[in-house]
């Protein structure tokens, strides 16, 4: 696979697996920990990062979690220092840090700015306290609004807001209200996720015990259609299944994932994809810290997909993008045409009106978008 080898990874992901409290729907790799554990973790992370120095030229950096903003100011500075030492600041075009309302302070915001962070992803989820409570978030709608304004005042010109829809007793009106508030704040980027019930979460437990029941799928679909319509009309480009951006403000870092290109991950549970090999660090924080301390292998998972599977995965990931996948790019990368591997499926799906060709790009139709998973199984 020439293409992959020609392009070494240029995206760096750094994971901070700590939160102020665990949200009811969350199955991410994050825990509530004391300062001591966080300090130990940051030291370990620092040494993992320092080993990366000079190996890659990163164009995008993304510090995610968890909640990076839950770190104390001292800890945050330590983290930002560690990151800046293994990147070449002038090469980095996009540097994102995730933050949650209720954990940001003016000082933390200043630190972020000082260390070259140029994009903030704010986990708002909703501006309505009822929804926030249901989700188990630590902040109010007002906190979110205030934090956003603070960020703007500090000079952040590229801010994403995460929103969530599909809570059991959320109405279409509630959702429209959230969207209106978000648009009034005028962020450059909005991610709108449908609530999902993941195994092991409190919400799923409640669902199974009959304490709550899922929102009707048709209403959820209406909400999804609403967000697409509303944001598109307000100048946002619907560029990925759940992501919207002002022109030119698409998240370059995440585009790396959706195009199935290489990236390097650091921190507990972080995944790297280098030269077609995907590896994952140890999820468990203590094991990660000890592993690094003892200089042991901290990878807990690795796979190297055969070319055809890697190609299939690339098609699946790229179909998440509204512009789909370019036949020419695919050819350059894999040395054959998409049809050579998926001719039958493509004909069938085009016949069903679920995918189409648009300017040499294969993409989901609107009908296909709503049932994207069903469509994607055809490319496995």
């Amino acid at each position: 696979m020439k293409f992959k080898k020609d392009l070494p990874p240029n995206a760096l992901y750094v994971h901070i697996p700590f939160c102020a409290r665990k949200c009811n729907y969350c199955d991410f790799n994050s825990v509530v920990s004391g300062t001591k554990t966080i300090d130990l973790y940051l030291s370990a992370l620092e040494s993992e990062l320092s080993a990366l120095k000079g190996q890659y030229v990163f164009k995008t950096v993304f510090i995610g979690g968890g909640t990076p903003s839950v770190l104390t100011e001292t800890q945050l500075e330590k983290l930002l220092c560690a990151v800046i030492r293994c990147i070449s600041v002038s090469e980095v075009q996009e540097y994102t840090v995730e933050a949650n309302p209720g954990t940001l302070t003016a000082n933390k915001i200043r630190l972020l700015k000082e260390y070259g962070v140029n994009r903030i992803s704010l986990g708002v989820q909703s501006f309505q306290d009822r929804q926030l409570k249901f989700l188990g978030r630590i902040h109010s709608g007002d906190d979110a609004r205030k934090n956003f304004i603070l960020l703007r005042q500090a000079g952040f010109e590229n801010i994403n807001i995460d929103l969530m829809f599909g809570c059991p007793d959320q109405s279409l009106d509630d959702w429209e209200n959230d969207l209106e508030t978000a648009v009034e704040l005028n962020p450059e980027h909005i991610s709108a996720y449908a609530l999902t019930y993941e195994e092991g979460t409190l919400l799923t437990k409640n669902l199974n015990n009959g304490v709550i029941s899922k929102l009707d799928e048709c209403i959820e679909l209406d909400m999804y259609k609403t967000v697409i319509d509303y944001l598109t009309h307000n100048g946002y480009n619907h560029y990925e299944i759940s992501n919207f951006a002002k022109p030119g403000c698409e998240c370059s870092h995440n585009l790396v994932y959706w195009n199935n290109m290489g990236y390097v991950g650091a921190g507990a549970g972080a995944v790297s994809s280098i030269d077609g090999a995907r590896t994952s660090n140890e999820n468990d924080i203590i094991r990660y810290v000890n592993g690094i301390g003892e200089g042991k292998n901290i990878k807990s998972f690795g796979e190297h997909l055969p070319d055809d599977q890697f190609a299939s995965e690339t098609v699946i990931m790229s179909l998440r993008l509204r512009q789909g996948i370019s036949n020419a790019d695919f050819y350059k990368r894999f040395g054959y045409k998409i049809e050579d591997q998926f001719g039958d499926q493509i004909n069938r799906l085009i016949g069903d009106g679920l995918i189409c060709y648009d300017n040499e790009r294969l993409k989901l139709t609107e009908k296909g978008l709503f049932i994207a998973d069903t469509v994607m199984t055809e490319f496995v």
């Binding site: 996720y193 799928e217 679909l221 994932y257 959706w258 995944v271 994809s273 049932i371 069903t374």
Partner: protein
């Protein structure tokens, strides 16, 4: 070699009474296998047997034993205990002169103890009663002996007591086998007369036949002749089971072994056939085996229509090794070309289906199982119906008849009441009760086969906390008020989902069935309507709502692998589905009729 030093015997018992474990001890004591090779239930060498912990195929093994300074050749056949594999037992009995009849010291006499003991007596074999698992604290060997005398009328004075766990009593088994089981009769110098009691297909060597030699001798280079199929072959190898195949120069009267003769066509071999020499033939063939009557039928179809011929080959190959299932080509509007297959019971059906898939790599779907019905038509013609689709229009039927069985339950006396209730609810006719002892009873009912073959067994087991056992024999057909219950998927009748039901249960059954189907069939991009109908009367209806939204909201770097695996799993599930019209029906849906529970 003279037959004086040969003993051929089977181990028979109810399921789980310890046959294969006893065989392990006999293998060890005779040093037939090294301790390095040994593993528990050594003779259960099929993956399916090991996974399920039960014996499915009878296996033969040759043991060498020195007793009173003389060397003996013993041929042991370990048999399965489950009722569905009783044909394995009866075939094995045909190759033996005696049996070890095992009874678990704490379970006591159970239904297949009686059934298998009677089989052995019908074959006029020497029966050695053996009480097994005497190490268990709840064992009650003397009561069990009394039960044996009462049910089987056999003398238990010389019964043996063993524990395959502690090894107690194992040596006495050898002694009894040699002293109490007669050596085989037969003349090694007479023309060859041997019985094919089993066979297996080997990709490289063709059909391997398992033989019991009654007269004569067979050796490499001999021209042999199969009397029923009229075919002759040149012997390439003969040998015995240790338990792996070990070549020998010859097999002669009284011995049990295998024979390889470059037999490439499966159809040239019939289990039960007599093998003799081509030139010097035996006068009379052996009586062979009476093929067992299938109790339950179902359709087996390849999920992929192009797999019809490979499926036929796979069925033929499998039938070599399991001659107790039958198959006939049939077509279904819904499923295309496939086979109607007959089995001895549901476990048998399940095993055949699993073996087919494992041994041939073909994905199959299997339709709802049913029993065979008899229909007297207005024109006085009597037809047999092994597929609900073959039921003629109502106005041509004078009498609808169903198969009846005589069922005997052997169970602890305290459960007699619950089993009676269960049997009455299944349209059973009470016949008699007999007490084996204060604690154990035999209950006899006449029941429609269709009522006991599906979910009855599990119900009985749970009602008796696992202690109830059941054996049944077909007794004939009896008129009953039966109707054909059809299922329509999006308005189209799906023949493969039709069943036959008693009129009084049909409405409830129809309603339950569409409910279950609703859960089994996943949502489509369009609405799917499910209906149950008797003739043109719709008795139940359910709809499956279309998928409105099915899209993973979040997918970033760390999620890619997980997402791909999820999609792979969904795709794997689709393999076992059959599209009917444009509705994908999973294998499990076809088996919905099996259980009448919600």
């Amino acid at each position: 070699m003279s037959t004086e030093r040969i003993r051929n015997f089977c181990i028979i018992a109810h399921i789980d009474h310890g046959k294969s474990t006893l065989a392990d001890r006999l293998l060890e004591k005779t040093n037939t296998i090294t301790s390095r090779e040994f593993r528990n239930q050594m003779l259960d060498d099929m993956d399916l047997e090991r996974e399920r912990g039960i014996t499915i195929k009878a296996s033969a093994v040759a043991l060498k034993l020195v007793c009173d300074g003389k060397e003996y050749n013993l041929n042991l056949i370990d048999t399965p205990g489950h009722v569905d594999f009783s044909y394995e037992v009866s075939r094995s009995l045909g190759a033996c002169e005696g049996v070890l009849l095992l009874v678990d010291a704490s379970q006591g006499v159970e239904a297949q103890t009686v059934a298998n003991a009677y089989l052995a007596m019908e074959h006029n074999l020497a029966v050695i009663p053996v009480i097994s698992k005497i190490d268990l604290p709840q064992s009650r060997p003397y009561e069990v002996l009394a039960e044996m005398e009462k049910t089987l009328g056999i003398d238990t004075e010389d019964a043996l007591m063993v524990s395959s766990k502690t090894g107690k009593g194992i040596d006495e088994i050898f002694d009894a086998v040699i002293k109490r089981i007669p050596p085989p009769k037969g003349n090694p110098n007479a023309p060859l007369k041997s019985l094919i009691f089993d066979s297996v297909y080997d990709e490289y060597r063709g059909v391997i036949v398992y033989l019991r030699i009654f007269d004569g001798t067979v050796k490499v280079g001999d021209e042999i002749y199969m009397m029923k199929t009229n075919r002759s072959f040149k012997v390439e190898e003969v040998g015995i089971f240790k338990p792996k195949m070990v070549a020998k120069d010859y097999l002669s009267a009284g011995e049990v072994g295998y024979c390889i003769a470059n037999i490439k066509s499966i159809r040239d071999v019939k289990v039960g056939d007599t093998v003799t020499h081509y030139k010097e033939r035996t006068a009379e063939p052996l009586p062979g085996y009476r093929p067992p009557m299938p109790m339950v039928y179902c359709g087996i179809y390849p999920t992929n229509n192009t797999d019809f011929h490979p499926l036929r080959e796979a069925l033929e190959r499998l039938s070599l090794n399991d001659s107790s299932f039958t198959f006939e080509p049939e077509t279904s509007q819904a499923l295309g070309f496939g086979f109607r297959c007959g089995f001895l019971g549901l476990l048998h059906m399940e095993i055949v289906q699993e073996r087919l898939e494992r041994e041939s790599n073909i994905n199959i779907v299997q339709t709802a199982p049913n029993v065979t019905y008899e229909i007297l038509k207005i024109n006085k013609e009597v037809i047999k119906v092994d597929n609900p689709e073959k039921v003629p229009p109502v106005n041509e039927i004078e009498e609808f008849r169903e198969p009846m069985v005589r069922a005997s339950f052997i169970l602890p006396a305290e459960y007699v009441g619950v089993i009676m209730q269960l049997a009455e609810a299944r349209r059973g006719k009470y016949k008699s009760t007999e007490y084996l002892s204060e604690k154990r009873a035999i209950l006899i009912y006449e029941l429609p086969l269709a009522e006991i073959i599906f979910d009855f067994f599990d119900k009985m087991k749970s009602a008796t906390r696992g202690y109830g056992t059941l054996d049944y024999d077909f007794i004939g057909y009896e008129a009953a008020d039966l109707v054909k219950l059809d299922i329509l998927v999006s308005g189209k009748q799906v023949d493969a989902l039709s069943t036959i039901a008693h009129r009084q249960d049909a409405d409830i059954k129809g309603r339950k069935l569409v409910k279950k189907l609703k859960n089994e069939i996943s949502r489509h991009l369009f609405e799917v309507v499910l209906q149950a109908a008797i003739g043109s009367r719709i008795i139940a209806r359910e709809t499956i709502r279309p998928i409105a939204k099915n899209v993973t909201a979040k997918c970033y770097g760390g999620d890619i692998t997980r997402k791909r695996k999820l999609l792979e799993k969904q795709k794997e599930g689709k393999k076992r589905m059959k599209s009917i019209g444009n509705v994908e029906i999973p294998q499990k849906a076809f088996l919905s009729v099996l259980s009448t529970d919600e």
